[in-house]
């Protein structure tokens, strides 16, 4: 056949710069820079076509993320990244969708979409930038602000126990992938985000992120004392580069398909567990339901509409 004679066009190779858009306007030292670098590297490795990739976010420092990607982007409303992202994916299954959201954006005003987004389990990658503070609006209490943290709305210290979003997510129905990592371990950060990307379903990654402007020392304990970070390891988990494995003094073997174990780990406050808490590749995916009928021809649609009208016809 004539098609076979057409020379196969070499696939276009996307380079890092194909994903980079301008200079990120986050504060110097902000953890968001590291996540951006990791995601841009993942895009390059995975050769994601920029025109088929969409970054969706809410409002916050971290939600500026799409502006620094040279892909399609949707920098929407505070707390509403999930519904928009789900809508993008609903009828365009071929688009790769990433969501960026902050702890305020996601756990506070966006909390209703959190629990429902988990249940929808649409195939996309969700990064939650948790700096324990409202960054963009200049330091108000967030749901994950530790008890006693002095913020602008609680100058005498936050008064409610901080939310444990890992445990909350582990309780939600139809969870399919939940991991945690930190912005200051670039290898683990990238490996975790990449595993979430590769997961078919909603890959959720909570990144403990430094806000140098307002919560600079929030993560000091974990950063200074390697014992305080607990690396969760498993064949089915986030792959850890053997070269840096030793840097993690405190490790645990954790089968991420074991929800009870995951919940026990999720309750731990003595250490910060990082890696994959839970995965369920078989969780039903709503995107496979919402794309129903995409292949229907206009002729069949016309037939369908006529049949529908028949039911109302005065014969």
């Amino acid at each position: 056949m004539s098609e076979s004679t057409t020379p196969v066009k070499a696939p276009h190779l996307f380079t890092l710069s194909d994903y980079q858009s301008g200079i990120a306007r986050w504060c110097p030292g902000c953890g968001d820079h590291g996540v951006l670098a990791a995601i841009q590297r993942i895009c390059t490795e995975e050769q994601l076509p920029p025109h088929k990739t969409v970054f969706v976010s809410g409002i916050g420092c971290s939600s500026r993320f799409p502006h620094y990607m040279k892909t399609y982007g949707f920098h929407g409303l505070h707390g509403r990244a999930m519904p928009v992202a789900c809508g993008v994916k609903a009828r365009r299954p071929e688009l790769q969708v990433f969501v960026s959201s902050g702890d305020g954006d996601f756990f506070s005003i966006g909390a209703g979409h959190w629990i429902h987004g988990v249940r929808y389990n649409m195939d996309m990658t969700l990064t939650i930038f948790d700096n324990g503070i409202y960054g963009l609006t200049k330091a108000q209490t967030s749901p994950t602000s530790p008890l006693g943290l002095k913020t602008k709305t609680h100058p005498h210290g936050a008064i409610l126990p901080p939310m444990n979003p890992i445990q909350a997510t582990l309780g939600m129905t139809n969870l399919s992938f939940l991991a945690q990592t930190v912005d200051w371990k670039p290898q683990h950060l990238k490996a975790t985000l990449q595993a979430a990307y590769k997961h078919k379903g909603l890959g959720i990654v909570r990144v403990m992120q430094r806000c140098t402007a307002y919560t600079a020392d929030l993560h000091d304990e974990w950063r200074r004392n390697p014992e305080k970070v607990l690396l969760m390891k498993h064949d089915k988990g986030v792959p850890v580069d053997p070269k840096i494995d030793k840097a993690f003094k405190n490790q645990v073997e954790h089968d991420p398909t074991d929800i009870n174990k995951a919940r026990e780990l999720g309750d731990r406050t003595d250490v910060l567990p990082i890696g994959l808490f839970y995965v369920n590749p078989d969780a039903p995916r709503y995107d496979q339901m919402t794309n129903a009928g995409l292949e229907m021809s206009n002729e069949d649609k016309a037939k369908g509409l006529n049949a529908a009208l028949d039911k109302f016809a005065v014969r």
Partner: protein
């Protein structure tokens, strides 16, 4: 066709009739009425049907607030509204009639065929209520005919409670000399899914009712029917909206249930799949509109359907759609407000909230269908407007249209209408994502998947490249571009035609579902020589050009609306009805209004009375 009436039967020729079937909820009145309406439409008569729905799912039996049923207005001509007082009522108990009496549904002379089993009730209270009502009904001038309806059914079914609706249908078929065959076909259509036994037992009851009426009644009516030129479809406004969505090519309806909008999704829950679409029931209204906007952004323009409280929740996203120029169709089926208000009742109270609802300058196109047919046709139109003008189109219908049933010519269907203007070719290099035409503000949009079109949509003030604006002039320019689209849209908006003479003593201006009633009232007044005309607006924002000129040709201009306005006595302090405000601001003409919030469609008779009052001595301001 059994047309033989007994000798003593008096046959009256009428041009139209208003029939009600009223019962406790769950007694099947609506089914019977729907079948009767369809039957009339098939025979070539004009029909308007409207459901009588109580506020609760199952209100207490025999209660004023529990009136459930249907009104069918039918006649020789095209019917455009539910009319005034009923001519004939079939009632399963006397208490529910008070619900209707409160709404002034009957007049002296209205004939009521009333179930009389209550008169022998074991319950003394019921017995007394019934007796008292009979006296009262007589006082009110109603012509009550007591009939043992359930008893009569008992011969034909074990459970007359469930079957009597078809018995009633049969009676109506005889009374109005309709084709029994066609009625039986309708029953087949209604119950077909439930199997043959069900169909047959219902048909049997219908035949029995027909025979019973023939035996017992001494009156009958004849109504002419015009041969119908075109093939018709008959449906309510929400079904029409649903079919309009299907016909528009929009393949996603993203919604959250809310009365009276929900039935659009009830219909589409099944039907949308027939044209390859998907219905998303979101976790709340905010998520529903966000989901729709996401899909629109990704090139599949979507629709969301809601009512007032839902629109309130969508306000923030409405602003985003305008700011970021994402096409979106939002249908608002208006109900009584403010707040939870009157969830099942009609109001036209969301006009100004739709126009001004979002903070900042957020110009959106607002249109309002006035007939069931327009509920259908305005949706494809709205989609086209949303895409061409790259923004939000709000379609305002209301509970009156939502539940009103009317036949209209069957729309044509063409495969091309399902084309999705879904460009996936390369985006022209260097062309900005908002390549605003300086004069019209219009611009094509890149769609994810288009190479070279990559941009980051944002709700922040932005340049034509969708970059966050840091300098003062960008916001001014981009605001101007979004506003310019309005003037451009107006360019193609014809000035609406006045119904009646081009000048006169009084012009009534209406919008939305009141069209039928207003025209009927105006025509009646005009036939009596009154110099009244009417103008009906479908485009509310922007308004069409040329209104001021029209208004100036009338001595008085007055809107008729179903929303709140203060009584005239308040003088300078008076708060106007919503369209009146909007027209005053736009034209500076001293436009009056006549409106109420009874939660009822405004009847033609009341509008007529108001016309007479306005045009009488002293009525002129």
């Amino acid at each position: 066709m059994s047309n033989q009436a007994t000798a003593s039967v008096k046959v009256t020729h009428v041009e139209e009739q208003i029939v009600e079937i009223v019962s406790d909820s769950g007694e099947g009145a609506q089914k019977a009425g729907t079948a009767f309406a369809a039957l009339n439409a098939k025979m070539g008569n004009g029909v308007w049907t409207v459901e009588i729905i109580p506020a609760e799912v199952k209100p207490p039996a025999r209660s004023t607030a529990g009136a459930s049923g249907i009104r069918v207005r039918f006649g020789q001509e095209h019917m455009t509204n539910m009319g005034d007082q009923a001519d004939l009522v079939m009632a399963f108990n006397e208490q529910v009639l008070y619900g209707r009496i409160n709404q002034e549904a009957y007049r002296p002379g209205t004939v009521i065929l009333l179930e009389n089993k209550w008169k022998d009730s074991n319950n003394d209270k019921i017995k007394a209520q019934y007796a008292k009502a009979l006296v009262d009904f007589a006082d009110r001038g109603f012509v009550v005919k007591e009939m043992p309806l359930e008893e009569a059914c008992l011969a034909h079914t074990k459970n007359p409670k469930l079957g009597k609706n078809m018995f009633i249908l049969g009676m109506l078929v005889w009374i109005y000399d309709r084709k029994l065959e066609t009625a039986l076909e309708e029953i087949d259509h209604l119950f077909g899914r439930k199997g043959e036994t069900v169909v047959e037992s219902n048909q049997k009851l219908c035949r029995a009712g027909y025979a019973y009426a023939m035996e017992t009644l001494d009156f009958r009516f004849s109504i002419e029917a015009k041969a119908r030129a075109k093939e018709l479809v008959v449906m309510n406004g929400n079904e029409a909206v649903g079919l309009g969505i299907m016909a528009s090519g929009m393949d996603l309806l993203s919604m959250y249930p809310i009365t009276p909008a929900t039935s659009v999704s009830h219909y589409l829950g099944d039907a949308l799949g027939k044209v390859g679409g998907f219905l998303h029931q979101a976790e709340d209204e905010i998520a529903a509109v966000g989901f729709a906007i996401g899909s629109s952004y990704a090139g599949r323009t979507a629709c969301t359907v809601t009512s007032g409280p839902g629109m309130a929740l969508k306000t923030e996203f409405m602003g985003l759609a305008v700011m970021s120029e994402v096409p979106l169709v939002m249908v608002v089926v208006q109900r009584g407000g403010p707040s939870t208000g009157l969830p099942t009742k009609v109001e036209q109270g969301d006009l100004l909230a739709a126009i001004f609802g979002a903070p900042g300058d957020a110009p959106k196109l607002v249109i309002a269908p006035a007939t069931i047919e327009e509920c259908f046709t305005f949706i494809p139109r709205a989609r086209q407007m949303a895409e061409e003008f790259r923004g939000l189109v709000v379609v305002l219908t209301d509970a009156n249209l939502a539940t009103g049933v009317q036949p209209f010519p069957r729309p044509e269907v063409k495969p091309e209408q399902f084309n999705i203007p879904f460009e996936q070719g390369e985006w022209e290099a260097g062309k900005p994502p908002y390549d605003w035409d300086e004069k019209t503000g219009m611009s094509p949009r890149p769609i994810p998947g288009q190479v070279g079109g990559e941009y980051v949509l944002t709700g922040l003030a932005h340049t034509n490249f969708s970059k966050v604006a840091y300098d003062p002039s960008t916001n001014q320019t981009s605001s101007e571009m979004r506003s310019r689209k309005f003037a451009a849209f107006r360019d193609n908006l014809p000035t609406p035609k006045v119904h009646g003479a081009e000048d006169g003593d009084l012009l009534i201006v209406g919008w939305g579902s009141t069209l039928g009633s207003i025209v009927e009232a105006v025509d009646r007044a005009r036939s009596e020589g009154k110099k009244v005309s009417t103008l009906h607006l479908r485009d509310l924002n922007p308004l069409p050009r040329g209104l001021e000129d029209i208004f100036k040709r009338f001595k008085q201009v007055m809107t008729v609306e179903i929303n709140y306005s203060d009584p005239v006595e308040l003088g300078e302090d008076r708060r106007y009805a919503q369209l009146a405000w909007w027209l005053r601001a736009n034209t500076l003409v001293d436009i009056d209004c006549w409106s109420n919030v009874f939660g009822q469609p405004i009847r033609p008779g009341l509008i007529y009375d108001e016309i007479v009052r306005r045009l009488s001595e002293g009525g002129l301001r």
